[in-house]
């Protein structure tokens, strides 16, 4: 018999187990009931699950800090800005970045994202099937990112290659050394790509985020080259996979819950609430790392300075103390204070962009392909950490009678 996850005897949870990332809600429930202060498997590193504990931790970066001493092994040479630095330094960067990622700004590019979504759908709709991740969920957020940054859409393939080189290096799964080497090499290429852009925008300013980063001032000074690079690195790593994963999780859920899908198609006015409820239920970015900066007591547990902690936001989002009927996906949920975009000062910088992309993608997909399901005999495959549905074969009727 396999070991239960979480293991009630040891209080350990395997957060990267494939069956956990595929269907985490049951595990969350047991964690909340049996061990709301668990440890990650094989380490002494605490895993927080309760809504109130996690919300408190997110609000207190001076205690649960994002400034890790250890490198997260993502090919970066310095911390990413503003994600891996804390207030008050972080606040100065957020002030200039929040403006550029505000709802008002992202609405400006909405028509172009809608056009991209339709072009992608055009490319496969007649075939009656697609592998959703490759065909739609990966390219769309990448196009949105290029639009917002003011970069050439011709760079799409290069961008996907660079992003994958960091997140999924094309080396054997077990060869950690080769993976790290590949990431470092890719990291250098990413720095080079953005260095070139900094020079170009410095010489020929435009109305885009890249130019803004080159010309804007913080406390009366322009950003250093390295600061701009550390911001761009985060954009590339944070802005693409997360929306890709959310699109995959949403479609995988709706493909296997036809009654919910039909309701959404019949009542498009439910879409915004459905997007929020699926963010809560699926929580594609299921966990956030933090390091304890000062000894603290939280939720009846003592945490020593220097301890690495995992905030399992996915579990917080199904905590009954906050969400009534938490294990029901309810598009009519009137109260939904989910933490899928985190919270506190590190709230996801791209949350307005992500919501716009999700809304547009879900609207256009369901308008054009209202009936779909997972290909018979196939099982979707989810990646750990950020729950990208890396394999999601969908089928739908074509020709006469389709679209009803």
């Amino acid at each position: 018999m396999s070991t239960p996850n979480p293991n009630p005897d040891t209080g350990e949870v395997d957060v990267v187990d494939p069956s956990f990332t595929a269907c985490p809600q049951e595990v969350y429930k047991r964690l909340l009931q049996e061990c709301p202060m668990a440890k990650t498997l094989g380490t002494d590193s605490p895993v927080l699950s309760r809504y109130e504990d996690i919300r408190w931790a997110l609000r207190h970066p001076e205690i649960f800090s994002s400034e890790m001493d250890i490198h997260l092994g993502l090919g970066t040479e310095r911390p990413m800005i503003p994600q891996q630095i804390d207030p008050p330094r972080q606040t100065r960067y957020r002030k200039i970045l929040d403006q550029r990622f505000s709802r008002r700004r992202v609405v400006e590019i909405e028509p172009r994202i809608r056009a991209h979504a339709n072009e992608l759908i055009d490319s496969f709709i007649e075939q009656g099937e697609c592998e959703f991740d490759q065909a739609f969920a990966i390219p769309l957020p990448c196009q949105a990112f290029l639009e917002l940054m003011g970069l050439s859409v011709e760079d799409l393939d290069l961008f996907l290659e660079l992003k994958n080189g960091i997140i999924r290096p094309p080396v054997p799964h077990t060869d950690l050394e080769a993976a790290q080497e590949y990431r470092t090499r890719t990291g250098r290429r990413i720095y080079e790509y953005f260095e070139k852009l900094i020079d170009e925008r410095g010489a020929h300013p435009r109305e885009d985020i890249m130019t803004h980063l080159v010309t804007t001032e913080i406390d009366g000074r322009r950003l250093e080259r390295e600061e701009i690079l550390d911001i761009c690195f985060l954009f590339l790593l944070g802005g693409l996979d997360t929306v890709t994963a959310t699109l995959g999780c949403n479609l995988a859920y709706l493909a296997s819950h036809p009654e919910q899908r039909e309701r959404l198609v019949r009542h498009p006015e439910l879409l915004d609430d459905a997007v929020e409820e699926l963010l809560r239920w699926e929580t594609p970015v299921m966990m956030l790392p933090r390091v304890v900066k000062q000894d603290v007591s939280l939720g009846g547990e003592e945490f020593k300075a220097g301890t690495l902690v995992t905030l399992l936001v996915g579990a917080a989002n199904v905590d009954e103390t906050e969400f009534e009927g938490a294990d029901h996906v309810d598009f009519d949920r009137g109260r939904n204070r989910h933490l899928a975009f985190g919270g506190g000062p590190h709230r996801c910088l791209g949350s307005h962009l992500a919501r716009m992309e999700l809304r547009v993608a879900m609207q256009e997909w369901h308008r054009r392909i209202p009936v779909y399901s997972i290909k018979e005999g196939e099982t979707p495959r989810y990646s750990p950490g950020i729950r990208e549905v890396q394999y999601l074969p969908l089928v739908w009727p074509t020709g006469e009678g389709a679209g009803s």
């Binding site: 609000r59 002030k95 403006q99 505000s102 709802r103 929020e276 933490l339 919270g343 506190g344 709230r347």
Partner: protein, 68 residues
């Protein structure tokens, strides 16, 4: 009549309030944080203000008794 109050120390700009209740809340010009447009609400407006409060992940919005 109820009073609408936002704790700006808690607001971090999720923007749920001005998405859900644009009659009562607006996006500030600076960082996309919350700005109260209508500080006193009743009837339908009280309902939408309450809905914004119920969907603020930071719990930063209060729709409370108006004591003048």
């Amino acid at each position: 009549m109820k009073k609408v109050r936002v704790d700006l120390n808690l607001c971090v700009g999720h923007g749920r309030c001005y998405e859900l209740a644009p009659e009562v809340f607006a996006e500030d010009d600076d960082r996309g944080h919350c700005r109260v447009r209508l500080a006193r609400v009743d009837g339908e407006l009280e309902k939408v203000a309450q809905r914004a409060s119920d969907n603020c992940p930071e719990g930063a919005i209060f729709v409370e008794a108006d004591e003048g």
